[in-house]
């Protein structure tokens, strides 16, 4: 497992490359503006189009993009170790299995009863 910094970024003043791995505040501010903008857009779009069958998927898609930006930039997945990325993705994988199993049950019960 390696330290999340660029190779060769260590200096005598920064022997572990920690200062070199500090985030660029400009990038953080752009990501913050994007996440905030998407949140406000989600609210505006939801009020504008009302509760249609497309509203929920659209809202969740916007929420997923926001969460992705938070995970990639604020949670440092972009500079994380492979094992950390694997852990993060595995949680989504297990949640996917959870959803498939119980949705397969609850959403097909009426078919079993009617047959």
């Amino acid at each position: 497992m390696s330290h999340p910094t660029t190779p060769g970024a260590t200096t005598p003043d920064d022997p572990h490359g920690i200062r070199a791995s500090a985030d660029n505040p400009g990038v953080l501010l752009v990501v913050f503006a994007c996440v905030l903008g998407l949140a406000l857009a989600n609210i505006g779009i939801s009020i504008q189009i009302g509760p249609t069958k497309f509203t929920l998927p659209l809202q969740l898609a916007i929420g997923s993009v926001q969460a992705g930006l938070v995970a990639y930039y604020f949670m440092h997945l972009r500079q994380g170790d492979k094992v950390v990325i694997l852990t993060a993705l595995s949680s989504l994988f297990w949640m996917g299995i959870l959803f498939v199993l119980f949705m397969g049950d609850y959403m097909t019960r009426h078919l079993v009863v009617s047959s």
Partner: protein, 229 residues
């Protein structure tokens, strides 16, 4: 042995600081994976009932206060930025900025809970509570629209359980952030120990990310309901 073994923050069972930081990150991410699955179960239950009773859920959601939720969304997203800037300050060894950003994060989190308190108070005042004290006006309105008031109250059960559990996570986060402020003030968070801040920040970002899904599922489900029905 690398030079990093001489660092006072290096624990004896790690080879170097890089390995120690990586293990700390992996540990908190494994905890976050359990948190994601925990909330996944709640989101799953919500999904089933939302698919079964979509009209009741939309109707009930239209009675929630979206202004409070919007203000809280701004607070949480901003707090995610400030705690990330706190990590940056820790890495750069800027202790004053580290404490400042941590205090701003704690203040935003506290503001979130204060707004949540006002929101709950308003909900109770309007009898937007499942059970015997449920609002007769809303019940009559639901019946007039051909909806089942019991299923409207079911949505409110999800609303209180999901926002309540999320609120508990916020309170835990505030405690962790204030502990970081104490440690930073004592001078125990030099740049080599920035991962202490990062571990708390990862938890905090997850709490923020969960809110990004609670917002559409609870508050935006009924957005624009009055104008379109």
């Amino acid at each position: 042995m690398s030079a990093s073994t001489h660092s006072p923050v290096l624990k004896h069972h790690f080879e170097d600081l890089g390995q120690q930081h990586a293990c700390e990150r992996l540990g908190i991410w494994m905890f976050l994976a359990t948190e994601i699955l925990f909330f996944g179960g709640i989101f799953g239950a919500y999904t089933v009932y939302r698919l079964w009773y979509p009209h009741e859920f939309v109707f009930a959601s239209s009675h929630l206060n979206r202004l409070f939720a919007t203000i809280n969304t701004v607070f949480l997203i901003t707090s995610s930025l400030t705690i990330t800037l706190a990590i940056r300050s820790a890495k750069l060894g800027d202790r004053a900025a580290l404490i400042r950003y941590l205090l701003i994060t704690a203040a935003l989190a506290t503001a979130f809970m204060v707004v949540k308190g006002f929101e709950y108070a308003e909900d109770f005042h309007e009898h937007l509570v499942p059970g015997p004290s449920f609002s007769h006006e809303i019940e009559k309105e639901a019946v007039d629209k051909g909806l089942d008031p019991g299923k409207v109250q079911l949505f409110l059960c999800f609303y209180y359980i999901m926002t309540g559990i999320h609120g508990i996570h916020i309170i835990v986060g505030i405690g962790c952030i204030l502990w970081l402020v104490w440690e930073a003030w004592r001078g125990t968070i030099p740049p080599e120990n920035y991962s202490t801040v990062e571990v708390v920040s990862l938890y905090w970002h997850l709490v923020d990310a969960i809110w990004l899904f609670l917002m559409p599922l609870l508050y935006l489900a009924g957005a624009g309901y009055g104008a379109h029905h």
